[in-house]
Symmetry: C2
Subunit: 564 residues, 2 copies
């Protein structure tokens, strides 16, 4: 039997698609709020496919009209559960309708969406639930075990079925009943565009996670910019590979709706499944960190695409070899840079002059983080503070050499760290957000991240960027992925230690000959890197330790080399 | 000798491209301001061609870096001339660098740009200069005769040469000297995004023109929406056919810069010149009212385009025959709707189901004004007020039949009528902007303008839309353009009177046989229109009276028929 939305998901005929306006607003001022997007989509393209969740036991397919009704039901259900404006609603879910709904429905209840990474440990989840003061938890059935015992707040479990009998569907259904068909005009539009939208916690490899608060205004402007910069339009299909809980899916849960695009949600990063969709589902866009992109291009199913796909890449700079692998099969990389503290904030803008360059040379330019994004504002690289009281921001010269810290300000920057004024003040030193990312400023104004402060290798008194070393080593034809950390050296203070994963077809080639590979790689590095940056040690490993969001855990690698 | 920008137009090396930030702004709030666009373009694409003014005695070609410097020079020159924040700067110019500069440079001086239509009479210009209280006038050399005698404010004349010796160039040069290379950081960024950006006067066929004030916030959001909706990007080339003084060029002077597009300015609407650029200048976008579009497709040089061009059409609905003519040669119409009181506010969004329709049927859908634009908010059709005290807005049913008035609200709507609180209050009846445009609301939520209130023909007690009649008559193969007005009729009260311009190749066909054509057209109308809407009278005329912005002057036509 073909899929049918549950009866409470079907909107009444001629439903009004606007909320009750707050009193006292001037005619020419409408507070910016990404909730507007779904209402507009349901008005203009009610029957267009909005949200597809195909690779599960119970697939679902929602049009904008139906999805919009489900979002309204969610808002009423939350209000019925006692949620008041500003309350936090925690969501623990992989990519699925639940978390997609929540990006709109929680805002419709004027609540704040607290996204929790499904890859965290129960203790971390408990900390975040407690710190955020979440008043209700929406959780996917596979992640119920992450919840602490003795919870004092209500929990709604989704079986991810979209069918009657699923507790989440019952929750939505109750919302519809509770609304008594007051519909959208029964909900009030948030009058303050500075009101919080999301609360996302940093993955925090050191220290406790911090809660990043973003605003409705910032979310709206970031989403519009992402749709524009990635050229997502109504004929686009976006594949959800990046987890939506990761910094609010870089605002793409809203950008796609703004664009009237169709979204396909995948519960897990499953490369054969991704390729199935690339080849059969008219996918045009997806987001992913380089580590995921590496998995995509190296999957056995990878082959030249019939139509180009745009890949938005962030989280780390793509290497030349990755860019080349992507382009070869028709994936067009769009390199952007951001942190949990905001959506994409810079973009690598292609220059006409690059067309004449070799791929190798072009990739070096493409690996730069670039310039401020469409609706972003200032991106600067400034000297790090001399001491605790140093709040003056002084730009480093535009020489592509002097290392400083990236600072940003503007509408896309976070509002604050939740319930942590001290950390907020520190992060906002000098009236800008201090990212902690070390970078140089090139003469053309492009920012290039050299490293996180703690990842720099001080070798013979020289600062070696572990990222720059990784960029060079990654171009070796046998290397799939590489990470470099500092290791103590009696003579030079520190020296680079490289951890390498070989490509599938190269594993046999070097089997039992890792020493030979180590020599080969050092020889490969010699003409490409300054002496102090050449790896002193090379380890071939089957895998690299990663954070729950897919970043390589250099702290773990440092712990390993500390014992050597 | 190839063109060289004047020495003061060349920026210093490593110029800082940001203004002095106002104090006290939170890190996550940057007031929206379209001035940001040119600074960002000059930062990211300094050497890209930004502004081309080719078809004059002294052509000019500016890169973003040079243009940005000229804009800065203009800001300092205005400040040197005594311009303070909020002062009005009047500009009287055809499409040219002067008026393009002013869209950015006046905002950089925190002043308000008062755009004056070059097609007005001197008395109207005098009224606007006086009413706006403009403190300085920048005027193109061809329009100096429009200025009233005994002006008490300074006047800067541009010879539109871009060469030394031109008084406007001297003005810019003085600005550079005056700035003492303080550059952009010597100018303060406007802290209030609700601050006025433009002051444009309605063409006002009846009564005195009213001054429409738009805000920085509204201008920013409208420009971003236009770039997104029209898909203007860095590889785009925009041809300036629409006068920039017409409602601020529908915010495209900013949208194009936001997109990093190249702009080509044409002083006049010259069809052979337009075709020269269509065929040789890689044009991708332009704006124009239907009357201009008719001129374009009927020009002898018209032929199928090697690459498609997007035409943004507003001012009136395109007829089926126009849409077909445009599409045949590769021009893709984007039908939007707005007034001087805001930029484009609705758009006709193509529906998948239209693909199966005949052109004739599809055109009927495409002629609708459609749904709210990307960053616009509410568009409603409401019953007209019962009396002066009636401020309640009641939506008409979505039946595609009941006629009401279009009302709008949101960030793109004007802030107020300048120095006219009474007209502002009246226009903002019920907390929305009352457009005066009569429309129906279709079941799918699409708005379709039926007429301006005064253009409705009350024929035998029925309301006949002059627009609807024109739409049908325009499909006759011999008709280039048609306008229909009410004429008194002894029996029916009013009956439609059609004024027709024949296509060039049809003029001879009907020469001396206008009566026969009149019969033919009435017969053509009969199966297509209800009896009360069929034209009772048909006049073949060589031209139609038009307002300075190219709209047909129905008041003049009504005056003619009143005498018959």
């Amino acid at each position: 039997m073909p899929f049918q939305p549950t009866p409470p998901s079907v909107p009444p005929k001629n439903a009004t698609l606007s909320l009750r306006q707050p009193k006292g607003l001037p005619v020419h001022v409408q507070p910016l709020n990404p909730l507007q997007f779904i209402l507009r989509a349901a008005e203009i393209y009610p029957d267009k496919l909005a949200l597809v969740h195909p690779d599960v036991k119970d697939p679902v397919f929602y049009s904008f009209a139906v999805w919009c009704q489900r979002i309204q039901n969610l808002a009423y259900a939350l209000i019925q559960a006692g949620i008041k404006p500003g309350d936090r609603v925690a969501v623990i879910a992989p990519n699925s309708p639940l978390i997609a709904d929540a990006h709109h429905g929680v805002l419709a209840a004027q609540a704040v969406l607290c996204l929790i990474n499904t890859r965290l440990k129960p203790a971390e989840v408990a900390y975040i639930l407690d710190h955020s003061g979440s008043s209700i938890i929406l959780v996917d059935h596979e992640y119920v075990h992450l919840l602490p015992p003795n919870l004092k707040v209500p929990v709604v479990v989704s079986k991810d079925s979209g069918r009657l009998g699923d507790p989440y569907e019952q929750f939505l259904s109750n919302g519809r009943t509770y609304s008594q068909e007051r519909g959208w005009p029964g909900l009030e539009y948030q009058a303050d565009e500075g009101f919080p939208a999301l609360l996302c916690y940093t993955s925090g490899t050191t220290g406790r996670p911090k809660g990043v608060v973003t605003t409705l205004r910032g979310s709206y402007l970031a989403a519009v910019a992402n749709a524009y910069e990635s050229r997502i339009h109504r004929e686009s299909t976006y594949l959800w590979i990046l987890p939506m809980f990761h910094a609010g899916g870089w605002t793409f849960p809203w950008a796609n709706v703004f664009a009237f695009a169709t979204q396909i949600t995948l519960r897990t990063v499953d490369y054969p499944l991704i390729w199935k969709h690339f080849l059969n589902s008219a996918v045009t866009h997806y987001c992913g960190a380089p580590t995921v992109q590496i998995g995509i291009v190296n999957d056995p199913a990878a082959k030249p695409l019939p139509r180009p796909i745009s890949a938005i890449i962030a989280g780390a700079a793509p290497t030349a070899s990755l860019i080349s692998s992507l382009e070869e099969i028709g994936i067009q990389p769009i390199h952007v840079y951001g942190l949990t503290q905001y959506g994409p904030f810079t973009r690598n803008y292609a220059q006409p002059s690059w067309a004449a360059l070799s791929l190798q040379d072009r990739s070096k330019f493409m690996a730069r983080q670039g310039h401020a994004f469409a609706t972003a504002q200032d991106v600067r690289v400034v000297y790090q503070p001399k001491d605790e009281n140093d709040t003056e921001l002084v730009d480093v010269p535009r020489d592509g050499k002097t290392v400083g810290e990236i600072v940003t300000r503007g509408n896309i920057v976070m509002k604050e760290y939740f319930r942590d004024p001290e950390a907020t003040t520190k992060a906002f030193r000098g009236g800008s957000f201090n990212t902690g990312d070390l970078a140089v400023m090139h003469p053309d104004g492009a920012v290039a991240v050299v490293d996180r402060s703690k990842d720099i290798i001080i070798s013979g008194g020289e600062n070696a960027s572990s990222l720059a070393i990784e960029q060079e080593l990654a171009s070796h034809p046998d290397i799939l992925e590489v990470s470099v950390v500092a290791r103590t050296h009696v003579k030079w203070g520190e020296r680079p230690h490289a951890f390498v994963i070989l490509k599938t077809h190269s594993i046999n080639k070097w089997k039992g000959r890792h020493d030979a590979f180590s020599k080969e790689l050092k020889a490969y590095a010699k003409p490409r890197l300054p002496g102090f940056a050449c790896p002193e040690w090379v380890d071939v490993v089957p895998e690299l330790p990663k954070t729950s969001t897919g970043k390589i855990l250099k702290t773990d690698l440092r712990r390993i080399v500390a014992k050597l």
